[in-house]
Symmetry: C2
Subunit: 332 residues, 2 copies
Amino acid sequence: MNIENLGEFGFINSIKDGAIVRPLGVIKGIGDDCAVLGSFEGNAMLVTTDILVEDVHFTRAGIPPFKLGRKSLAVNISDIAAMGGLPREALLSAAIPKTVSLDYLQSWYDGVRSMAREFDINIIGGDTSSSPEKLVINVALIGEAAEDEILYRSGAKLGDAIFLTGPVGSSAAGLDALQNNREGEKWQSLIECHNNPYPHVAAGRVISGLKLAHSLIDVSDGIASDLRHICIESGVGALVYREAIPVADTAAEYISHYALDMDVFTLHSGEDYVLLGTTPPDSVSIMRDSLKSAGCGFYLIGEITSPGQISIRGADGAVKPLATGGFDHFKR
Amino acid sequence: MNIENLGEFGFINSIKDGAIVRPLGVIKGIGDDCAVLGSFEGNAMLVTTDILVEDVHFTRAGIPPFKLGRKSLAVNISDIAAMGGLPREALLSAAIPKTVSLDYLQSWYDGVRSMAREFDINIIGGDTSSSPEKLVINVALIGEAAEDEILYRSGAKLGDAIFLTGPVGSSAAGLDALQNNREGEKWQSLIECHNNPYPHVAAGRVISGLKLAHSLIDVSDGIASDLRHICIESGVGALVYREAIPVADTAAEYISHYALDMDVFTLHSGEDYVLLGTTPPDSVSIMRDSLKSAGCGFYLIGEITSPGQISIRGADGAVKPLATGGFDHFKR
């Protein structure tokens, strides 16, 4: 067995054992968007970390340093949003090759700081190192939430409606445009979606504040992969309505213009950083109204079914298994 | 200006501005071994992070994965020890190249877990990624301490005695032995000091519990560099007694055997992860006795002087400036 066979999630599963040696105060360890720690008077701490590696998560040519700085923090903020929390304190680590200039670094840090200000986040510490070749960035982010508001991957229930807080596909289309040098004016908004995602903290707060939803995750790996996390952790199945998946006009135009596979961009690609959740059918209309009046989106895209299968129903009514081929860092 | 001229600490200084946007609850931000957060009923949270990069901090040939795992956590635990705190919760990130086998990873993780168990630390989360070439590890660690026990770099006062909690030089000698292929039985204990450092949490707890010391830091970059941090943050100078610097017998033998420069190994090299602190002269004997009875070391190595200079006094009584050439990731 090597890591390419085991895969990223297999490896993460294999290390859960024995990770918690002092359970008191640990509400949730490895296995959700954030760890949840020690509630005091009903307040809990959320903790998450993400590593960004040059030529894996980004290229220096593809994203300006200011936007890389914003995105470095945004992907972590999105994990806090996916629990229904508020981001609070950030630690930044950077391994920096000699080919990175001080101007680049300062622009990167300006980007981090601009995102931090927008979300009222303190930068409280970090570490820097040289790096032989690639720029590597790690952010650890602490957030907070009332313990009874926090939403996990594991709470989905049979009959729940599955919803998204925004359209998908734009980030993947932007990445595709970058990779194929289609950087004209027409596709700039897609590239912007990929390089400068805006985490759905406001939507997460509305959803957690209502205390009606059963589960929540952010779409970082793709709907198919992230919905699978909810299904596995909740012990349920799911049916997705293909026609209901919201796709922004420009992304749809891009996919159609280059005759690309819509499913690849909307179901099997990530980094849109919208939220994917489940809520009882009788809460759908209040959830929709509350999100809309907060300026957030709500799109009903499926339903939670009995355990066993994640399926997709096409326009013709035919139901097929939904392959769960999200991005895996180690799978071949 | 580029980063090689500015240097690691110059860059860190340059990013302190505007880092804190919400001061409430932030007791200490960037600039000490840990950040210190929001005290409740006198209890504060310590937070630190360290990034380890292959071929910068370690080589895969030079350290077995199990020990790399232990050291990945140990360097962070040492930062908590340097504030007088207790380590509690860890987040692990790893960017993993294809040349790293699953066996290697599992052995690395076994090492992390063995160190975590020894210090009662939970592993609560993390992130994994592929990496084009180098293995990169980031650990973020949360600890705790009573707010009035926490020791900063900034508290040193004129007349304070400067002390160490253990001998120095063994880690640098071990690294030198590794780099020069002197891996025979005789120097194995030095290589072990380099590859498997043991953080001085117990000493830190004794020192913080006494509430007598004025400042504390861990020796990660070397006495000269780390003492300089205390002097700058405290606005004081220092005089180090060269003859009083404790050096383990095997390290002294190694340095002598290969006719190496003792100062380079004992003053200007780091990674011994002993604690360096300052305490009023009238507290020296109780500090010494308390540390000794807890099985910890105490070595008086100098005194805090008026601001302006960090000096060293040789065996002949001559006083010279102490060059502060600790390791800097970006200086040429």
